[in-house]
Symmetry: C2
Subunit: 164 residues, 2 copies
């Protein structure tokens, strides 16, 4: 059994150990690969309007996501989220659970749509998962991501209107 | 004769008088319509990597634009710009001059592409102008902008690779 809940202060070290290798790898998120813990925390917890973890029955953290307005003011009804699953918890439906949870949270918080700004085209599993959850590729950004192994690759803008 | 140059401290009040009515109108930029001068300055000058003005032969400011990386780290080779023309200087080619200038500045600064994240679909003159400068609508964000007069309207993601 896994469940999503708001992050608590005590979760940060576990969360950092999960997101750090993903940022260091430079294959799915644009943050500088040498991002510091402080800067990561600012991006993952302070800047977003809310951050969540998915935990198992032992309260071990399996994944984490944030939610925030994608634009200020007149664009603030569109949410943006970022999701990361622990390398040790792949294939258990954690990303799927987070995506579903984020959509209902977003709706509860008054968002009417959700946008991913930079889905890396080579991250095929993620693209398929978001599509299975109703997100559409609405735009392709040619060479917009400098993949650590593959060099410049395309990125997608993905978007979904949230039914009221 | 108009020319673009980097903004100077003495330009701010003139720039603020140009961008303020545009933000107050809520038809083309997502910033809160009641944005304060300090917050506007942070967004237009402090956060971007560079800000420019277009002036006429009397050094009167006719327009202003900023340039910044659209994403951090591995997405920082794609530039983002915002442009505003003074209401008193429409139809003089100021926006076109700024768009051209921004592309050469972006290239000089090492950017290899330029992305506009939220071009309001009802801002037809701007859409046509960016298209005439080689930008393509690569994505449509349904209802992503809450237009002050028209309610929820679509916005476009526009993108152009900058030739080396």
């Amino acid at each position: 059994m896994i469940k999503a809940r708001p992050i608590e202060e005590a979760d940060w070290q576990e969360v950092w150990q999960i997101i750090k290798p993903v940022f260091r790898a430079g294959e799915t998120y644009p943050y500088p690969m040498d991002i510091t813990e402080d800067e990561a925390r600012r991006n993952w917890i302070d800047a977003p309007s809310a951050t969540y973890v998915v935990v198992d029955e032992n309260e071990d953290v399996l994944g984490t996501y944030y939610i925030k307005p994608n634009q200020p003011g007149l664009g603030a009804h569109v949410a943006n989220c970022g999701y990361i699953v622990s390398e040790n918890a792949r294939g258990q439906g954690v990303a799927s659970e987070m995506c579903k949870h984020s959509q209902s949270e977003a709706q509860a918080q008054g968002f009417t749509a959700m946008q991913y700004n930079l889905v890396i085209s080579t991250n095929e599993g993620a693209v398929r998962l978001w599509q299975s959850q109703g997100f559409k590729i609405v735009g392709t950004l040619t060479g917009a991501f400098k993949h650590a192994r593959l060099g410049f690759v395309d990125a997608y803008v993905m978007y979904k209107e949230l039914a009221p």
